[in-house]
């Protein structure tokens, strides 16, 4: 009964949100707000956040998404690339057979069945109801087993003392961290910083949205043109999909 109420309330609110946002800023991609949740309500598995990356649109040499991410989370390096944190990185691919070149951003793939969550001894690695995989740094003991287990090398260990953190990314020495899909933005109906930057730069290679909503732009695009998972053989059902691979 209360579920029904909540459902109707949510759908009412989301409709209100759509109406509101469209009148405020017409012409801007605001499909993401279709899942606005009241900010005192917990995230639910009605939503599964995901990303679709079109490698054909991803510009070689462009690091817009990476810069935006670093900026957003205050990720300043120490000039030691082996130990410095990277949430998202640009990967260049050259097909050995044909010489075909591909450029793409790679970050935590937010698996439905994340190996990092499976192996974490304390439960610090966890998946939110809406599919975003995070590290609870309050109970991370820094064993790095999740880094051993992640097939995407998506996680970094904080190797040094950190001061002056941003509010969006509390982070400290001795714990593991990775892409948060900008939960702090997403929870307030925003989109991840990398996606925003890519759109602002007019590349539009990254699309963010709800994979559970058949009417979201990402779902429609995936239905129409499909999208590959990296290491699909592991059957992790990643939240980040790629086109043009």
């Amino acid at each position: 009964m209360s579920d029904q109420i909540n459902d109707s309330r949510r759908s009412f609110l989301s409709k209100a949100a759509i109406a509101g946002s469209i009148t405020i800023a017409p012409g801007v991609f605001l499909h993401q707000t279709a899942h606005a949740k009241p900010d005192d309500q917990a995230v639910s598995n009605d939503t599964r956040w995901g990303m679709l990356i079109d490698t054909d649109k991803c510009a070689k040499g462009c690091t817009g998404c990476v810069d935006a991410c670093n900026n957003e989370h205050g990720l300043t390096g120490f000039g030691r690339p082996e130990t410095d944190t990277q949430y998202i990185r640009k990967v260049s691919l050259v097909e050995k057979q044909t010489g075909h070149e591909i450029s793409l951003p790679l970050m935590c793939q937010h698996c439905e069945n994340p190996p990092c969550v499976d192996v974490c001894p304390t439960g610090a690695s966890f998946k939110r109801e809406d599919g975003i995989v995070l590290v609870d740094k309050h109970i991370c003991i820094g064993c790095r087993y999740c880094m051993m287990a992640c097939p995407y090398k998506a996680r970094s260990f904080v190797h040094e003392n950190i001061e002056d953190q941003t509010l969006s990314a509390p982070r400290g020495k001795g714990t593991v961290e990775s892409c948060t899909m900008c939960t702090h933005r997403v929870d307030k109906d925003g989109i991840p910083a990398c996606v925003e930057a890519c759109t602002e730069d007019d590349h539009n290679a990254m699309l963010f949205g709800d994979l559970n909503d058949p009417d979201s732009e990402i779902s429609k695009e995936l239905k129409k043109h499909g999208g590959k998972q990296i290491r699909a053989d592991l059957q992790l059902n990643t939240g980040v999909r790629y086109q043009g691979l």
């Binding site: 820094g142 790095r144 051993m148 090398k153 040094e160």
Partner: protein, 402 residues
């Protein structure tokens, strides 16, 4: 066969205190290393975001594997009823506890947040083999501790066999758990094999017995007790079987991988192109840790030579360390294949062989774990009667008194 009499070691001599002091000093250095690593962060180690587990893990995993193997001698006596091993049971169990403690200390002190030990023992994710291992290790202390009690207390002696059986099963499960830490890693092509668990068990037989032999011979030599050839010859033959079995598993592991096209890359890396890892594999693991000891164990002429046996055991330990190094570090150094058929490059070392050069504090921390084990053994022998006063053939060999 006479009744075995156990006595404490006297432990009043200068060399004894010297040994304690030396081990204590090593442990102190290990603690200093930990402080240095934790204070500055792990960037002062050779470990990176590519090679996330380094030298401390090599030492820790070696010691943990060896711990369960060291219990073997006791298991053979109480589970399989081989009388000649019976007098060695107490030392075997003690060594198992000490080695496990040493390994766990290293593992703990390398954590990013060792101050959160309490979190590790209060919050469990039961899907994690790591969490299960924490339970298995704790249980091992309890069960083997009880086992020692049963062996030492005349009133409890009747339970020895049953507790010994539990301890034996537990140690098999424990090493399965340790092997599964790697076996359950689907991401990396060097791991992800069910074979990891039985392979670790077989490795444990060899490592544990080699350390056991060294400790046995050293303690009998230094305390002037008699150690007969009958016992030593048995252990020596057993060691030969274990080393051969370990080689067999190595062959099966690599041949299987060589058959699977997907794994050709990593096999080529370990077996021929991996530089340091290839050298450590062939020279360290196969030659020093396998073929040479085998040849020496079965070579005529040196069959009763204690020094040769000491050298053989040392070689097995060195080879074992190399083997664990190749598994732990080599397995991480080989890049993960995210995009088969593509050449990969990025700012995050994708598609590149991971570079790792261990720094001094890491090695010192690892060595101090070994020191912890030896210090515990050295001290326990003085506190309780672990060693038979004599293991002369007339005492130890059931067939000697004809």
């Amino acid at each position: 066969m006479k009744k075995i009499e156990y006595t404490k070691i006297k432990g009043h001599s200068i060399p004894y205190y010297g040994l304690l002091a030396g081990l204590g000093f090593t442990i102190l250095l290990g603690l200093l290393s930990t402080w240095y690593m934790e204070h500055n962060g792990h960037h002062v180690t050779g470990m990176t975001n590519q090679i996330v587990w380094g030298m401390p893990h090599v030492f820790a995993i070696f010691l943990i594997i060896a711990a369960s193997g060291a219990l073997n001698v006791a298991s053979i006596a109480s589970v399989f009823g081989k009388k000649i091993y019976d007098p060695l049971s107490r030392l075997s169990a003690l060594l198992a506890l000490a080695l496990l403690a040493g390994g766990l200390v290293v593992l703990l002190l390398d954590l990013g947040r060792p101050d959160r030990l309490i979190v590790a023992i209060t919050k469990y994710n039961f899907k994690s083999i790591f969490a299960w291992n924490i339970i298995l290790y704790t249980g091992f202390f309890g069960i083997v501790g009880a086992y020692i009690w049963m062996m030492m207390d005349h009133n409890m002696y009747k339970f020895k066999k049953k507790v010994g059986l539990v301890a034996f099963v537990w140690r098999l499960v424990l090493t399965t758990g340790t092997g599964s830490i790697f076996g359950f890693l689907v991401a990396r092509s060097a791991y992800d094999a069910a074979l990891m668990a039985p392979m670790f068990i077989v490795m444990s037989f060899g490592f544990g017995l080699a350390i056991f032999l060294l400790v046995l011979m050293a303690s009998y030599n230094w305390t002037g007790r008699e150690l007969g050839d009958a016992v030593v010859a048995r252990l020596r033959n057993l060691l030969g079987v274990f080393v051969a079995a370990s080689l067999y598993f190595t062959i099966v592991y690599h041949v299987t991988n060589l058959y699977i096209t997907e794994h050709h890359g990593v096999e080529k890396f370990i077996l021929s192109d991996g530089g340091i890892y290839t050298n450590l594999f062939w020279v360290g693991q196969v030659l020093i840790g396998g073929l040479l000891p085998l040849a020496l164990i079965y070579a005529p002429g040196v069959r009763t030579c204690r020094k040769t046996l000491g050298a053989i055991s040392t070689m097995i330990i060195i080879g074992g360390m190399c083997q664990v190094y190749v598994i732990v570090i080599g397995g991480q150094a080989y890049p993960m294949e995210l995009f088969p058929g593509y050449e990969v490059s990025s700012s995050f070392f994708d598609g590149v062989v991971g570079q790792y050069s261990p720094t001094l504090p890491e090695v010192v921390l690892g060595v101090s774990g070994m020191a912890v084990s030896l210090l515990l053994v050295t001290f326990a022998m003085k506190a309780l009667a672990f060693l038979p006063s004599s293991l002369a053939d007339s005492v130890a060999d059931p067939h000697a008194a004809k």
